[in-house]
């Protein structure tokens, strides 16, 4: 647990050094990352079940919630564990992508 931020920092640093600004430049990165959420939150963030849709939610709200899950200050079952698997940069990308989606 304690080494986690350093591992992430290293990963981001490596990415930044070799591919800057790859994550910002490829418009599909947000889309691809957001697809990891669809199993529980629906394709494109439009939920077919009881868990909330993410499509069209304000980016700031999604980023704040994900960071609270990541820090463990927002109670949850799986999200407190899953949020820790994403870098802050990835959370920004995912949130930005969902915010831009239509709610259908």
């Amino acid at each position: 647990m304690r080494t986690f931020p350093f591992v992430l920092a290293a990963a981001v640093a490596t990415l930044g050094a070799t591919q800057a600004p790859a994550q910002g430049a490829d418009p599909n990165l947000g889309r691809n990352l957001a697809a990891t959420c669809a199993n529980c939150h629906g394709t494109g963030g439009v939920s077919a079940g009881s868990v909330e849709s993410l499509a069209g939610k304000p980016k700031d709200e999604l980023v704040r919630k994900m960071k609270e899950f990541k820090q463990g200050t927002r109670p949850a079952t799986v999200m407190v564990q899953l949020a820790k698997g994403y870098t802050d940069e990835q959370i920004e990308l995912v949130a930005g992508w969902f915010a831009a989606q239509k709610t259908k």
Partner: protein
């Protein structure tokens, strides 16, 4: 898609895999006739169906996608243990394929792929039909290694000693055996040495059968005969359930490597341990990638599984052939699960769309796994993980500090589990 349009499409009725060999309805939401290439997907499970849908979606209909699948409908392995417990029926875990055709323009061929020619880039089907591809995606699931359970190596025996490890007729038949069993009987499940499809599945099954016995046949027992040295997934959570919720019903015996069965005597035989007779004997046999993977030449690990490049899920050995789902040689900490297959499919779909457009694949794929297990009909536990690509090691690795399991079973997680099923079925098939 607007509500009205969706209702209109629903009103068109189920198309699915009709009697016609190929359903060629164009996708309503898409245009284009495969100008950017042809993809053939073998297998319409969690991996194959998701790959087909996402390639159509992400190529804006520019890539022609054909799915080859022998079954008329998708029947989910996840949640199918609830059919054994009796709180659900098989129809509850069954989803049609019609939306893949109607909404996404996927071509559906109800047939079995029998051979792949990677040089000619063609797939041969049981009907004799041949399909050409630019990229082939194999999501073929598993075959059972019947040679490891010799007495079960024939159809008659397999109809008596059931696996129910591919959801469908076997699931219903096992439920019927449990219902027919007199109170005071023993249900035994033999679990193969890992890796196998759905690591927590056998233990969830033991819970579901115990849940049924507790209510309907309280003098009956559940015996878990595990080829592994310990419970392979969610161990403490399952053991707590067996000690508390199902006290006196479930007995767990590790290190029971099955060597054969006596079909008539319903007896399981082991390499070291004493034989065990049961009233209902359920054998989950050892598994490997399905035969079509062998034909394609992509089986590279222990003569059982398929090594892939985790940036694209392309075979490390055969170009233009991708492999998804339970058939792959897994990376560290990656279970063989339906959720993972769906996630493999999205990484593969993004890569195939990029490659067929002359672009490089995403260099930083991320996958998640969330796996719910039902202890009772409502109370559920989970395990979850996040896997990021490691450029140095060229593999997917769990992110340190992420993922984990439930603190204990809860009804809240039961609601999330049913939500998961609704959403992943829609994400894969609608």
């Amino acid at each position: 898609m607007t509500i009205q349009r969706r209702d209109f499409l629903k009103a068109l009725g189920a198309a699915g895999f009709g009697t016609a060999a190929v359903s060629t309805l164009p996708g309503c939401a898409t245009t284009g006739g495969g100008t950017r290439g042809k993809v053939v997907v073998v297998g319409g499970g969690y991996g194959g169906a998701t790959a087909a849908k996402y390639i159509r979606m992400w190529s804006d209909g520019g890539i022609d996608v054909t799915v080859v699948e022998p079954n008329a409908e998708f029947i989910s392995c996840p949640l199918s243990n609830l059919v054994l417990g009796g709180s659900k029926v098989i129809a509850d875990v069954t989803v049609g394929y019609d939306n893949l055709a109607r909404r996404h323009g996927v071509k559906l061929v109800r047939d079995t792929a029998t051979a792949v020619d990677p040089d000619k880039r063609t797939v041969k089907l049981a009907s004799g039909q041949e399909l050409a591809y630019d990229r082939l995606i194999l999501s073929p699931g598993i075959d059972f290694m019947w040679d490891k359970v010799p007495a079960l190596n024939n159809a008659d025996a397999q109809a008596k000693i059931l696996h129910a490890w591919k959801a469908g007729a076997q699931t219903v038949a096992l439920r019927n055996q449990l219902v027919a069993m007199p109170d005071g009987g023993v249900y035994a499940i033999a679990i193969p040495v890992a890796p196998y499809r759905c690591p927590p599945g056998p233990y969830e099954r033991a819970c579901q059968v115990a849940w049924y016995f507790k209510r309907a046949k309280p003098k009956s027992k559940v015996l878990i005969l595990d080829g592994n040295g310990d419970v392979t997934s969610k161990g403490p959570l399952f053991k707590k359930a067996w000690a508390e919720e199902f006290k006196g019903i479930v007995e767990y015996r590790p290190n029971h490597v099955l060597t054969d069965v006596d079909v008539a005597a319903r007896t399981a035989k082991f390499d070291v341990q004493d034989s065990v007779k049961a009233d209902v004997l359920n054998v989950v046999p050892p598994q490997r990638a399905s035969a079509i993977a062998r034909s394609a030449g992509v089986v590279t690990a222990n003569d059982r599984w398929c090594d892939v490049d985790f940036l694209t899920f392309e075979s490390v050995k055969v170009k233009n052939v991708h492999v998804l789902g339970d058939a792959i040689q897994i990376a560290t900490g990656m279970p063989k699960s339906g959720h993972m297959a769906n996630q493999h499919a999205k990484v593969c779909a993004a890569a195939v769309v990029a490659l067929l457009s002359g672009q490089p694949p995403n260099p930083m794929p991320v996958l998640t796994n969330t796996c719910y297990s039902f202890i009772t009909d409502k109370d559920v536990v989970h395990v979850c993980s996040v896997h990021q690509y490691d450029k140095e090691k060229k593999t997917l690795l769990p992110v340190p500090g992420s993922g984990g399991v439930s603190p204990g079973m809860s009804e809240l997680e039961g609601l999330y589990a049913f939500n998961w099923a609704k959403n992943i079925w829609a994400d894969s098939l609608a």
